[in-house]
Symmetry: C2
Subunit: 171 residues, 2 copies
């Protein structure tokens, strides 16, 4: 179960070194996720054990968190995305978090600088349904005010490859 040569299991956030082979491996995995270790080793021109060791290390490192399926909310019936900026009462942070966590349509939540606010990503079945979601989100005592921006287009979907290429020196 333990990795082949992996020996470090650093807590994330430390900025692990990622060399050029790591970068090529990640990019390859991102482009063809169903590829196996053996095929990856052929594509990269290295031995299979090397790829296995690198993948073990990248996962122990936390560089690769996992390989979760990338589910499209629109295809599930939630084609409307919005971002809501929330202003909350002092000292209510924990309660608000718990409340928002319990709402399935809240896909993501951040606390930000600014006014000591929160930013969350919402989805809904329609614009009308978005009203219901927002009502549910803001219908909670600790939330003072909310402003919502509905997403029209998504010219750059969440991506990581360019950053990986830059971080690993792949030009």
């Amino acid at each position: 179960m333990a990795g082949h040569f992996a020996q470090d299991h650093n807590p994330p956030g430390a900025g692990m070194a990622v060399d050029e082979l790591d970068g090529r491996l990640i990019v390859l995995l991102a482009r063809e996720p169903r590829i196996g270790v053996l095929e990856a080793s052929r594509r990269l021109g290295v031995a299979r054990g090397t790829v296995q060791a690198r993948m073990d290390r990248l996962q122990s490192n936390g560089v690769i968190r996992g390989f979760g399926p990338d589910v499209d909310p629109a295809a599930l019936g939630y084609p409307v995305t919005a971002f809501a900026t929330l202003e909350i009462k002092q000292g209510q942070g924990a309660d608000v978090r718990a409340h928002l966590t319990s709402v399935p349509e809240v896909l993501e939540l951040h606390t930000t600088t600014g006014h000591g606010d929160m930013l969350c990503r919402l989805v809904a079945r329609s614009n009308a349904d978005l009203q219901r979601v927002i009502d549910r989100v803001v219908g909670f005592d600790g939330i003072v005010r909310a402003s919502t921006a509905i997403v029209m287009e998504n010219p750059v979907p969440l991506r990581i490859i360019p950053l990986v290429e830059q971080a690993s020196g792949l030009t």
Copy 2:
């Protein structure tokens, strides 16, 4: 290469039906992404061919876009995340998109309603480095103004499971 029994290849966004078995499959894949078709069929208590057919269909549907590696920017050396709201000159949308697409630190870009015209997610190596990224982002003719919110905490990381459970009737 074509799926076993899959016959529909609908364009995404239509709100595909997702039944309870689909839901359980997606949740299982999300929790243990490395499991194969055979193991999944054992966990779900159905035949292997069924799981294969469901996965083919979910991918043809666009419900599952892929299985890309989930890379942590922090582990790559970019621990700072921020959201920038951009106001752009009329008619410059396409140019601004192209410009932002060329910046690796721009992980995501949306056009939104409201008067902030675009919302983008940025990462940087440090708070100081964030200044460089922002300068690069806004150093473009079509961008009139930008306001940035730095992420402090991320109480709810991007998630999809609760929505899948709701959409598929898994309570």
